[in-house]
Symmetry: D2
Subunit: 338 residues, 4 copies
């Protein structure tokens, strides 16, 4: 089978012929028909993610059809449409046992620590990592596996702070923010949404996705947020950027007992101390999501509450896709269709 | 001023001239322009609510305009549109102090223990019981003060059991169910809704209000619910009826770790024991709602997420309205406009 | 190896020679040195638990030493002291995935659906069901696997209702209540404890285990509880009996927003309706506990916060132990030491 | 009556004769017999707390006996022993209405914005700010009103992160840490406690108060914490210092999904970003506590679970007490007994 492999950091992936691994026990071979190209691939390629060992087939957002099952696999058969949950934890630690495999310290994440899905076939070590797709096509499910799941968990963790009449801010309407706005709209108990970005068309997009207000981050965003909230500040901020510009905005946007959820790694820091934020604010992050949460995201999409805007690319164009991703030239979600 | 007063149980209210009480300190006199006629008025009239002392001006869902304020009242002035929160607790007990005045054992509920709003003016003992209305007319806010607030709190208490892909059942699409369906639609994190009733036009109404499925309770409702949920059962039931027919339906509809929220008092009982319900189900009720929750309900309505269907009646028709209410001949919400 | 097997309901177990199963993959063979004899064994023997298929080796509370490990077992080696978590779920359903295997509808509970530990060796299908014991002897850990874990989860679920100054009632100081009193003492945030029983020496025992008050259930228990709580009622009841005498006591003991946790199956029912309990009380049960919760129970015991009172019996006396259990002649916890 | 008043920042208080205010309506005059001297008094005196207007009678931790009640005061009478809850909120905002008056933006805190209790009598504007003392002497209750209540709320907010076998760190065993260790011992569900300080006798004291381990912050505290927790880190840190030395220690001490609760204002900052702490850690603070929480603290003390070590001083020595407080020469809690 063909696979796109990284041999050396900062070099293009090489598309080469690889023999698929044997399938036995509870293992499953999936024919990949959709592999979402995630911005964190760029961090792998640049060598910024330390545990990565080369050569490696990238691709951590994979969906497709069951090709072959091991002798101990129940419930799945050849031809089933499936998405692959990528947080393959140890199964034995406290976090795995409470269904938070993505927090396991030994997680072998597919496409990070184990060969991923930029390939014709993906070897999955247990059928338990698969979710059957009922209404969604694999190619549409692929972007949800990270870009949908990550903001879903983040939004869910902000819900205890929200109520009808409260306001939430989503900073950044890029890969994550695109879904964050929709998910906040779908699952919050009546909170209103402010979206902040510095690109005109993204602000326009945010309105279409359901934001109640859009604010240009190049202007006096903090003032506008205070005005909208009558001076009190908002009850939740999801900062999908995390830069030296956005984190101070988050800090000035919130009111008492609010939450700031940092998802972005753009190099900013928020200097925390007792008096740094209004009383009893919470500063935290969230990491990917659990298997059950992925099922919930897929359920939202199947109900039509999350829309995708997929652009398909053949496997051979993978390096070109990375190049366009670096330049911000991908509209919607880029999905490799090997 | 004119007021509709009950002098003897099971007799019509008498409309008579009453002198309004003096307004001093933090007190406020409200000119009532909307007083929602609630089914629990019938229970007062029939003598089924024990603490009631006659004569009494009924009416516990009141909104209108500030007419006069005491010398210590800040923030409110003549002409302000206001709704009156009706759970006037002691202010000192553990429940009052955590904002659950409606659970206070000493609650003097307006229209139950204190003269209510079927009158031209309502004397409110503290401005703290008032909520300013920004977008809603008092006549539209009136039905929300009980028929909206009660299911709001009930739905809110079921939310920890719900997630995208889960299913909730609302039994009864009458005065409470009308709002319960809309509120579940507005604030649940993506749960689907089954509405059950035994009246064709209510089932049709439930669909219009946002139910995903409607089920005729005269048929095999339990079977249909099991079919919809693939045998597992639902995660929440709100039984707005509480009859010998609906409570067993609730018990068979739920799955593991679900919640049954009983709001209706139609005389049924559910015999609870360790094996009566699927494992770790919760059986509970909820009572009215708090001031903050009322603000949340009004915010939902102001956002257009709860629709009312108000029919207006003059004060002199109050006994006629009760008569029609008894016969189920009120469509939408009957509001007295003194 | 020797094993005590049930061939026919209502007949004694037969102790016979059985070949241990082969150990491969992730499987482990445990040399049983402590198997707690649980009252639910009597329900299996009498045929009251429907899914049971005979013949069956009973025993669902097992601890001992690793004897042999399959080739894929990490972290465990021959001689390790271990306890066996008994809720062997499917691993794939929503409940298993959030760490509540004991709620899985396909659970094959050891000693119920699969051969248990009244035998010299126990075949465990995955090392993931084992917990390493650090400070506790297996024979002391055995009673905690059900009689400790079940009240632990139950008490934990009552904690949101409790606070310093609140009061909890534990009805029944038998096999479960013995641990419930100690656990409530250890993990509640300062709640006071009332223990109710109808046997003098159990009331005495409850005092020794940490109850603040003991009440004789043969007297006016409800009146005493009201007196202790100044008329308000308690915030939590754990009814380990569930009889026609105890459930009404639970219903009269509770105050507003309290919780009644039913653990016993002694045939009583509590007829629930909107007015059956004080406002916003919760009526529920809890089932066994999760693996993580079992680790928590073992941690409490290792810290000396739960004391056991173990009586040891050889495997050959198993039928005699059942006989004494039926007559209430076991003091403390009976553990088979095969 | 005599009162100790601040006329100019950084100068001694002047003890002078003041006429007590008239008592009417719901007001109460309390004869102060215990006023705890809090370190934040020093911040008022030095002018570091901006809203303070002079002259002002200091003292925000007051207890004593009811001297006189207004005509509308129920439930209280002359001679009742009472503690005064000091967070006098507006009563109308969302925070006040959910029982968090200490978060109200308009709070007039006694001794900060209103004349306090370093005086023979304290005028309390509503009987609702009083708590009756049953078992505690006012002089013993006084230190709990801030130095007990603040860590109580802080510890309570960490409880969702704790379980039997988990570990919590309390940094600083000074005025707040003294109570934090005891309260963590009393209300946590079996967490073990590490206390960190840089003064030998405080470490000794922490052991006596119930810490499982004490660590000298002058040594390799982070290494020791990692060793104790097997490398994982702790589930909660309460930093009562907040210095440039303690906040980095907090950051290295925690494990995944832990909480860092900052109570101290010693000038340090923790630069937060996505990667600053282990995954899904929470960084927050907590502010004083609510009336209900104060009742809970007093209940713990009445149960003997919080011990005080009170040193009494007459009103005339107030400036001498401040002087000793500045030098760290107060052992236990200094209470003025006017």
């Amino acid at each position: 089978m063909k696979a796109a492999r990284l041999y050396k950091f900062n070099e293009p992936l090489q598309i080469e012929e690889v023999a698929p691994r044997e399938v036995k026990g509870g293992e499953v071979l999936v024919k990949v028909t959709g592999a979402y190209v995630c911005a964190s691939d760029l961090d792998i390629i640049s060598g910024h993610i330390p545990e990565v060992k080369l050569p490696l087939t990238l691709g951590h957002n994979n969906a497709g059809y069951v090709e072959q099952v091991g002798q101990d696999v129940p419930d799945f058969k050849r031809g089933d449409a499936v998405a692959v949950f990528g947080g393959w934890g140890c199964g034995s630690c406290r976090f795995c046992r409470q269904g938070e495999e993505q927090l396991c310290s030994l997680t072998r994440w597919v496409g990070f620590g184990v060969d991923g899905g930029y390939a014709e076939y993906l070897h999955v070590p247990s059928y338990r990592h698969l979710i059957k797709l009922n209404k969604l096509e694999p190619v549409d499910a692929a972007p949800l596996l990270d870009a949908g799941l990550t903001p879903y968990r983040a939004v869910k963790l902000t819900l205890p702070h929200l109520y009808p009449g409260s306001v939430a801010v989503i900073i950044g309407v890029g890969h994550i923010g695109y879904f964050a706005v929709q998910i906040m709209r779908a699952i919050s108990p009546g909170a209103k949404i402010i979206a902040v970005d510095v690109v005109d068309e993204r602000l326009k997009l945010a309105s279409q996705l359901g934001a109640d207000w859009v604010i240009d981050g190049r202007g006096k965003a903090a003032d506008e947020i205070k005005r909208i909230t009558g001076g009190e500040g908002v009850q939740a901020v999801i900062d999908t950027v995390g830069s030296a510009a956005t984190l101070p905005l988050a800090a000035t946007a919130v009111g008492r007992k609010a939450i700031i959820m940092v998802l972005g790694l753009a190099g900013g820091t928020l200097p925390y101390s007792f008096l740094a934020l209004p009383f009893e604010c919470v500063l935290t992050n969230s990491v990917w999501g659990s298997y059950n949460e992925l099922e919930e995201v897929l359920a939202l999409a199947a109900m039509g509450k999350i829309k995708m805007h997929v652009q398909r690319f053949p496997l051979k164009d993978i390096n070109e896709v990375f190049s366009r991703l670096r330049k911000g030239q991908i509209e919607g979600q880029a999905v490799i269709t090997p």
